[in-house]
Symmetry: C2
Subunit: 267 residues, 2 copies
């Protein structure tokens, strides 16, 4: 079933309760869910690709801040003891040679003993801090997934892994731009400060109304489009680099961890 942000009244849900709902089959963007708990992008690849993925992340820390890496075959993470990475996200994507072959709500049938899983920081984690600073989260207000765009900015490659940077965009009122930048800058492990503010053409984005991932989000008059590096960058690298097999989260349908947002705040 699909649940919109407006319907679901998730504010009181704990991270564990949210994962249990997703394990039972609920499908939804996780924007606004389990506030205060860090969310994460997922990429699982065969172990012979693990070094290149980790090096790609090191070389592109703004889109790909690594929060945890599992041992090969393991579906457990320190970020949420007891969670199962194969079932506890709302939606997954399964890739073969860079082609999307399945979009299931759990991946136990696709799992392999040689998979290493990477959990990557997500901009949903800084949304609580931005909200507290008074910055409106238009996509949450509108009950939508955040807008994400593939840019023309290439990532620094690592071995066989290459691809463009993907960004998420939030419309920010001009008098709150400085707060939005400051608050996100203090959370460098969840993408940190924006990579670009203002006209989208500088990133090679032709039309804000047609995101490559997620939903279009309506701006208010005067809003500045603000672009943060996005963990879906790894998904774009899978599409461009075509590893024989990979599993990712579905864009906007993240892994909700037990880690608190504040843990990632540097000051």
């Amino acid at each position: 079933m699909n649940v919109t942000t407006k319907d679901r009244g998730t504010t009181g849900k704990s991270s564990r309760e949210a994962r249990e709902l997703f394990r039972a089959g609920t499908r939804s963007t996780t924007a606004g869910w389990a506030p205060g708990h860090a969310q994460a992008n997922l990429l699982s690849v065969p172990v012979d690709w693990a070094y290149e993925v980790l090096l790609f992340c090191q070389r592109n820390p703004k889109p790909c801040p690594v929060l945890d890496v599992t041992d090969a075959g393991s579906w457990s993470t320190l970020l949420a003891p007891g969670a199962d990475l194969r079932t506890d996200l709302p939606g997954y994507r399964v890739w073969q040679h860079g082609e999307l072959v399945d979009e299931p709500t759990e991946v136990t049938g696709h799992w392999r003993g040689d998979l290493v899983s990477f959990l990557i920081g997500c901009s949903f984690t800084f949304e609580a801090a931005l909200s507290e600073a008074g910055v409106p989260m238009r996509h949450i207000e509108q009950g939508r997934n955040v807008s994400m765009y593939t840019t023309r900015r290439p990532c620094r490659p690592a071995g066989r892994l290459h691809g463009p940077m993907v960004v998420s965009m939030r419309p920010v009122p001009p008098d709150l731009l400085s707060a939005a930048i400051r608050e996100s800058a203090l959370l460098p492990d969840v993408h940190g400060s924006p990579v670009h503010c203002g006209e989208p053409a500088g990133l090679g984005i032709a039309d804000l109304g047609r995101p490559d991932f997620g939903d279009p989000v309506e701006a208010e008059p005067g809003d500045v489009p603000v672009f943060w590096a996005c963990g879906v960058t790894l998904q774009a690298a899978v599409m461009a680099s075509r590893p024989p097999f990979a599993i990712t989260h579905a864009p906007g349908q993240m892994f909700i961890t037990d880690a608190r947002d504040e843990q990632f705040r540097v000051a």
Copy 2:
């Protein structure tokens, strides 16, 4: 030759000039050299250890923030175009099965085509920011290398790689402790905020006067010993984990990069 910090009047030296002096054989701690330029720890290991080193760094980001990773066999880094990692540090250590076998001023004769080099953030990088905030750098005033200690705090292991966390210590006047914490917190890629302030027993350090690496540094009355995670942690991991071959910098004798300290500041 050995040069002390007091003698050398290095304030005006550029990062390139410093590297040229070291390439010509000058041996010295790099504390206080080429102010404003980031310094880095070096670890070179055979490529079949590279994933475990990178994962160890990801799992222990405070002691081991990765600034760059070279391709196998390469002695070049983006952090200082034109520099040669085999010759441009003042001192190196060569390790076989965890034993120190040589401590030369260059390692061209030891180099191998399968070596992957890791450049790791160094606390010398935040010393300029601390100095500007009025925090005295006692070791620089005293013409000494910083004091470093092996703690009883274990790092999170990664495959074959394990070992204790190493810390650097600076005595800080109590009215400047808050500035020292704040300034270093804003530089998470060069160890960030301290891991411990005050009594050294909490880290398993018995005697501040007998550091495991570097020089003893004299405190002024009232100074609080402040401990930052230190990149020499990787050297301790080499000693504990015994890879067949490794090259590191000599403690306190860092690689001076062309990167500016400000590049690492998050806000």
